[in-house]
């Protein structure tokens, strides 16, 4: 008993000390946990082709742009006080791989946002997953019109890139306004890219009351389009609107040279990819006029970004891919800061009602998105471009100077 009592007596003063110690330890642990949570990085990811198809060039450059934006944001303290951790997943240009990457990033990696992809087909393959899982996606490269068309239950895909329909709108606005364009022909690839482009062209031409004198198709692997061009020539086409990837476009202008048939050629941003000048050669590459989102650098910030990543670019004329990708990160970060959260619903709502302008590389985004409009760039933001002395430069002429907003039918 005595022993017990003694023990009891001895134990009595120890309890408050132990409690205090445990309390202190708990406080330290909680504090550490809070600090650890505060320092926990926010995972963001790129899911796109960086090795599997010729379009991978824009994916590789896009990744450089996102990496630069992450670096800049982390230097100024991250987003919501947390650093960004950037994951890159190569979808090899294959939809099944892209879907696999997407579910892995959302379910296992628990990323807060996905950027990319490179190929439109892959975006269309997994956009339902992003919408169902409420994962914000900022499309930094793919251009298919349907990508940002979302379900009424919530559309989580936003874009800072070219849009096929907007490109068709801009190109046909020019053709309609050009008094020298008396007979237009459409030339498209037989790929999904070309077919979707033809659909947009035909619909917008109908809005203008235009009827092409010739519609010709070619396989993306074709290297001789003289037979199709002969038909367009016979039909009297003085202007061609072409929807093709870079290398086939190069073969098209080479075929034009063989026939000595040089109608005005207007085409998409694919002409700025390195495959086009490589195939067309230094003389013929200067023939088409095309659209980009930034043909020439026009700000100190863009110069600074170019100084950082330009040496890594095999084709500096595709710097626009880095600029667009850089801007997607800024827009998402602004939305997360405004929402005070990185959860999908909150970020989507904030993106649709950004209350502060975001100064990006391509432009300053002042309320760029709304509940029904998920395109950060539209036809009026595009730069008319052409190749000159090995560089993509601005294209200007009186027809372009006279284009009014009403000319852009959509």
């Amino acid at each position: 008993m005595t022993k017990k009592k003694t023990a009891s007596t001895n134990m009595a003063p120890a309890r408050p000390r132990l409690t205090a110690l445990l309390g202190a330890a708990a406080a330290v642990l909680m504090s550490a946990a809070v600090q650890a949570q505060a320092a926990d990085p926010i995972k963001i990811a790129y899911n796109g082709d960086i090795s599997g198809s010729p379009s991978a060039e824009s994916g590789q450059i896009g990744v450089l742009g996102i990496g630069a934006a992450v670096e800049d944001i982390n230097k100024r303290g991250g987003v919501l006080g947390r650093p960004l951790e950037f994951l890159v997943r190569d979808d090899l240009g294959q939809p099944p791989k892209a879907i696999q990457n997407m579910t892995d990033l959302i379910d296992r990696e628990k990323v807060s946002v996905v950027f990319g992809p490179t190929n439109s087909g892959n975006a269309l393959a997994w956009k339902h997953i992003a919408n169902q899982k409420r994962m914000p996606v900022l499309v930094s490269s793919a251009s298919s019109t349907a990508i940002t068309e979302g379900p009424s239950s919530g559309n989580y895909l936003f874009r800072v890139s070219m849009v096929d329909r907007e490109q068709a709108s801009a190109l046909l606005a020019y053709v309609k306004k050009n008094p020298e364009a008396k007979a237009v022909g459409f030339f498209v690839e037989t790929t999904g890219y070309g077919q979707a482009g033809l659909k947009d062209l035909e619909q917008i031409a109908a809005l203008h009351g235009m009827k092409p004198v010739s519609i010709e198709k070619f396989d993306a692997r074709d290297t001789d389009m003289t037979s199709q061009l002969s038909k367009a020539k016979a039909a009297g086409a003085d202007t061609l609107v072409v929807w093709a990837q870079a290398a086939p476009l190069g073969h098209l202008v080479r075929s034009m040279e063989k026939l000595d048939y040089f109608p005005k050629v207007f085409t998409t941003w694919a002409a700025s990819f390195s495959g086009f000048p490589e195939v067309a050669g230094p003389k013929l590459m200067e023939w088409p006029v095309f659209l980009t989102t930034s043909s020439e650098r026009k700000s100190a910030e863009a110069d600074s970004l170019f100084a950082r990543i330009g040496p890594k670019l095999a084709n500096p004329s595709m710097f626009w891919a880095a600029s667009q990708a850089y801007d997607t990160v800024l827009l998402w970060a602004a939305a997360a800061e405004q929402a005070g959260d990185t959860k999908g619903e909150a970020v989507r709502a904030a993106l649709e009602s950004l209350n502060k302008p975001v100064a990006g590389m391509v432009k300053t985004y002042d309320k760029p998105f709304s509940a029904t409009q998920h395109e950060g760039l539209t036809a009026a933001d595009y730069h008319w471009s052409r190749w000159k002395d090995g560089k993509v430069v601005d294209f200007n002429d009186p027809v372009l100077a006279g284009l009014q907003p009403a000319d852009f039918k959509k």
Binding site: S53, P54, D219, T226, E278, A314
Partner: protein, 298 residues
């Protein structure tokens, strides 16, 4: 029309070279190299690399230096020919003469390895190999041609002719024909059959590499370009008769012409017409237009 005929014969002669490659391996080993397309693509890039290295080293302009192009062609043929040996040893020899079709997968696998390795070296993009006689268009009436089309046409016909002659007049040619005719009898006659088989793979791979360099200034070199060329070459071999080298050559020219002339009417029907022709020929002459019926003794 003239443009279409010249264009068709140009591409057709390249298909004929590939078809001849299929003929060589099939007759000697009863197997086919399904990596042939990758040998075409990689061969084009070896040629491109050779021209690049030489022009950089010599400070010369590739255009107009015929000997640079000739060296590139030799380098591609040699490099791909030498690569044909490990292909034979790793992907064919363990399976040749044995039942089963394992060599189909092993040759495809070899091609994938080759293409992936090349992708890591040269990347994805299309590149133009400078044409040795320049890129200017010259005209005959309404039609326009580039010098490389004639170079391909002349060289391919010369190579096909030389092969045809070599197969009939040289010792190695006779050995290959003997092995093709009867492997066991050839062995009994003292012919080193495995060596002849290896030679067949070397020659067929070299032809593929050379084809790559020939067409690169016309089609632009890309690591994905070989698949369709090899497929058309295989179709040419099937149409002409896999066992008949002259038939393979004729099949190549026929496919090239059908392709080109169909495009005059509707480019979208080109592939359809080519493969309809393959089906039609097989329905009427299962061994090809010039092939002979094989009797397998068991």
């Amino acid at each position: 029309m003239l443009q279409a005929i010249i264009g068709g014969l140009t591409l057709g002669s390249v298909y004929a070279l590939i078809a001849l490659g299929f003929n060589l391996t099939y007759t000697t080993t009863r197997t086919l190299n399904f990596a042939q397309g990758d040998f075409v693509s990689v061969g084009a890039f070896v040629g491109l690399g050779t021209v690049g290295v030489l022009t950089a080293a010599l400070g010369a302009d590739a255009v107009g230096y015929v000997w640079l192009y000739a060296l590139a062609a030799v380098a591609a043929a040699l490099a791909m020919g030498v690569l044909g040996l490990p292909l034979y040893l790793a992907a064919i020899r363990p399976f040749a003469g044995k039942p089963g079709m394992s060599w189909v997968v092993s040759t495809i696998g070899f091609g994938i390895v080759l293409q992936s390795a090349a992708l890591s070296v040269w990347g994805l993009g299309a590149r133009m190999l400078p044409a040795p006689f320049g890129d200017e268009v010259f005209r005959v009436g309404e039609a326009g041609f580039r010098s490389q089309e004639l170079v391909v046409l002349v060289l391919a016909f010369a190579i096909l002719g030389a092969f045809d002659l070599a197969m009939r007049r040289t010792a190695i040619g006779r050995c290959m024909r003997a092995v093709a005719l009867n492997r066991d009898a050839a062995a009994l006659m003292g012919i080193d059959v495995p060596r002849v088989m290896a030679m067949a793979f070397l020659a067929s791979s070299a032809l593929a590499g050379l084809s790559g360099v020939l067409v690169a200034p016309i089609l632009s070199a890309s690591l994905f370009m070989g698949v369709i060329i090899a497929l058309k070459g295989f179709s040419a071999a099937i149409i002409g008769g896999l066992t008949n080298p002259r038939g393979c050559m004729a099949g190549g020219l026929l496919i090239g012409l059908v392709e080109s002339l169909t495009a005059l009417w509707s480019a979208q029907w080109r592939e359809i017409m080519v493969f309809l022709l393959v089906i039609l020929v097989l329905a009427m002459a299962p061994n090809g237009l010039f092939g002979r019926k094989l009797v397998e003794k068991v």
